[in-house]
């Protein structure tokens, strides 16, 4: 329900698109478009309600993005920002073929693995997670990598890592060609030692 121009209640005849509302909230609109959105909002409570929903979604996503609970490929800038903001960041750097002993503590706020690889020429890159026997248990398909990037920055889920028993996990970066054939770009072995109390082991 809206009161277009302060008059009788009306449904908004020209509702603002959700994408426009999100870009308005994120301050990503050009000035002219932003002004037009604000003029609309000042005459339309329907779209004001939609903006409130957008704000709530945006704040939820911001909280989630900063929680460190997602497994996601990120950029260096995010890690730098986290460090600058004073977060407790635990970072492990891997060369191809390297095994690294790693852990996570209860007060860590961001967990990052930097996987070095020559990614040039790879049209599609997958990141495969395998158990100690090399059997694939999970795959991140078509991960985002810049053409000039010399590494993949993986934010590992703190929720997953903090609940993980001592175990070995093998990560593989794979180039996938248009026919679907795989080429190994790098293999990285995580030897995780649990430091937080919990079950001794789990099923993959």
């Amino acid at each position: 329900m809206t009161r277009q121009n302060g008059g009788a209640p009306l449904e908004c005849a020209t509702p603002l698109e959700p994408a426009v509302l999100m870009e308005y909230w994120l301050a990503l609109l050009p000035a002219v478009e932003e002004a037009a959105v604000e003029e609309h909002l000042f005459g339309c409570d329907d779209c004001g309600d939609r903006l409130r929903e957008t704000i709530e979604l945006s704040e939820g996503l911001r909280s989630l993005a900063r929680s460190g609970s997602l497994r996601v490929v990120v950029g260096d800038g995010l890690v730098r920002h986290a460090v600058d903001a004073g977060l407790r960041v635990r970072e492990y750097a891997f060369a191809p073929g390297q095994t690294v002993a790693c852990t996570v503590s209860a007060d860590d706020e961001l967990l990052v693995a930097r996987l070095a690889a020559d990614l040039s020429g790879a049209a599609r890159v997958d990141l495969s997670f395998c158990d100690p026997l090399g059997v694939e248990r999970q795959r991140m398909t078509d991960i985002p990598v810049g053409s000039e990037a010399g590494s993949v920055v993986l934010q590992e889920s703190l929720t997953f890592a903090k609940g993980s028993p001592s175990t070995t996990m093998i990560a593989r970066l794979l180039a996938i060609d248009p026919k679907g054939d795989e080429r190994l770009l790098g293999e990285y072995t995580f030897q995780h030692t649990r430091t937080i109390p919990g079950p001794p082991e789990w099923e993959w």
């Binding site: 009161r3 121009n5 302060g6 008059g7 009788a8 209640p9 959700p18 994408a19 999100m22 308005y24 909230w25 994120l26 301050a27 990503l28 604000e38 003029e39 909002l41 000042f42 005459g43 409570d45 004001g48 309600d49 903006l51 409130r52 929903e53 704000i55 709530e56 979604l57 945006s58 704040e59 939820g60 996503l61 911001r62 909280s63 989630l64 993005a65 900063r66 609970s69 997602l70 497994r71 996601v72 490929v73 990120v74 950029g75 260096d76 800038g77 995010l78 920002h81 991140m140 398909t141 078509d142 991960i143 985002p144 990598v145 810049g146 053409s147 000039e148 990037a149 934010q155």
Partner: protein, 179 residues
């Protein structure tokens, strides 16, 4: 006050000293001003302050008959919002005397924000494709990291925008599906 009363009629009544019309203007414009404040000041407390300041200026102007075109109340309030935020950014502080004069009657109506299920949102984000999840995380983590999304992905800003739109649309659909 009946919601059928137009902005123009309210403005005219305020000139003649109608207190109920003033209350209706506050009721009508307060939530809109607050949204503007949330967007530009990024703080609920600052947005609440903005509501008071803008309503005070608006009522002052209306009482004094300074709104030349009564049909233009909403644009006038929006303009006042913009000027007030500009003034704030210049460090100008002159509202205390006005607040003393008008007191607490101008406390804005708080429209309840919709509730979001964080756990469901996390599941929906985890279900996105890898590129979409990266764009979402980089976009919402920080303004600077939002600008970095294209470089991480090795694609243009325009493509980042397309991916972000698609991801947000999927998240909305996912949240509606599971709720």
């Amino acid at each position: 006050m009946n919601v059928d009363v137009s902005d123009a009629e309210l403005a005219q009544r305020i000139v003649s000293g109608d207190a109920a019309a003033e209350a209706e203007v506050c009721h009508r414009m307060g939530p809109r001003i607050r949204l503007y404040g949330l967007r530009h000041l990024r703080s609920a407390a600052a947005a609440d302050d903005l509501v008071q300041q803008v309503l005070l200026k608006t009522l002052e102007a209306l009482r004094a008959g300074r709104l030349r075109d009564a049909d233009k109340l909403a644009p006038f309030v929006l303009g006042t919002c913009r000027m007030t935020v500009l003034d704030q950014r210049r460090g100008a502080r002159r509202q205390e005397q006005l607040l003393e004069e008008f007191g607490a009657v101008l406390v804005p109506e708080q429209r309840e924000m919709p509730h979001l299920d964080g756990e469901r949102l996390a599941r929906c984000v985890q279900a996105l494709k890898e590129r979409e999840r990266t764009v979402v995380v980089m976009t919402f983590y920080d303004e600077d990291t939002a600008a970095e999304s294209g470089r991480v992905l090795g694609i243009s800003e325009a493509n980042v925008r397309v991916i972000r739109h698609r991801a947000i649309r999927q998240l909305r659909a996912c949240m509606e599906t599971v709720s």
